[in-house]
Amino acid sequence: MAKKTYDLLFKLLLIGDSGVGKTSILFRFSDDAFTSTFISTIGIDFKIKTVELRGKKIKLQIWDTAGQERFHTITTSYYRGAMGIMLVYDVTDERSFENIVKWLRNIDEHANEDVEKMILGNKCDIDGKRAVNKDRGEAIAREYGVPFLETSAKANTNIDKAFNDLATAILDKYAGKEPGDAPDRVMVDPRRGDTSRRSCC
């Protein structure tokens, strides 16, 4: 059967230190009651998700580093073909935040230069143990010109928005760049990020 069931295909990567919750961003319900012991033993390689943006059906193929980051073996082959990268740190882990700059350099060295990036401060549902304030996340995102969101995979805060925003940024780039439209989405606007619509963080 050769019928085409989608318009566009975007390859996305999740990057960041071990333990920042990349896997739970990819599989956000994995803490729930239903867990398959067999599947969690062998682990997940990648997942395909379908989103609809501006009337286009887009397939997202999302890859997790699967622990490669521990051995600093994330190189060109992992980045090959990537159109979008989620850079994830843990708001309760200072070091994972400091390493975001290191990951940005790694991306510069190995990934396609026009890859779309987004910084995510994950685990923002954990109030008591926060080590990195939201404004520090916003500041670094502004400095590097990368959009920023605080997320909670556990509370399902901003996860869908993160993937939609990143996919939209890629779509804008490939859709002929409507003037005056894309910059609004690509640049960080802290005022907009602070709206109380989803005020978990």
Partner: protein, 122 residues
């Protein structure tokens, strides 16, 4: 390892023109796996590890299944997860709740097979 054969009751009602009459969703969450008419019904014997096991069990049971929806291209799925390679295949899971295996991906032919009895067919 026990091998059980599972079959699907009233299968004819699920098939229209050789394809899945309705969209496929996960048995455990609302995640949509495949749109209607995208899969092709095939009869094929394949042994899939059980989706769940009792805490007291150490081995994963295998179930011999016969009824599958074949999906020729992985990007024809709406939402699906692929496991790391094990036993020479990649197992398919729900993309949202991670329940599985709901089927397998053949590394040689790149074809995908979803077990009728491991998804909601309506």
């Amino acid at each position: 390892m026990t091998a059980l054969t599972q079959s699907v009751p009233d299968m004819e009602a699920l098939i229209k023109d050789g394809s899945n009459k309705s969209a496929l969703t996960c048995l455990h969450c609302p995640s949509r796996i495949l749109n209607a008419s995208v899969g092709t019904y095939v009869e094929k014997e394949f042994s899939l590890p059980a989706m769940t096991k009792l805490k007291s069990q150490t081995d994963t049971e295998n179930h011999v299944l016969k009824d599958f929806w074949k999906v020729s291209d992985m990007f024809h799925f709406e939402n699906v997860g692929f496991s790391h390679t094990a036993d020479g295949v990649k197992y398919l899971t729900c993309a949202d709740c991670e329940m599985g295996p709901i089927g397998w991906h053949d590394l040689q032919t790149k074809e995908n097979f979803v077990a009728l009895c491991r998804v909601k067919n309506s």
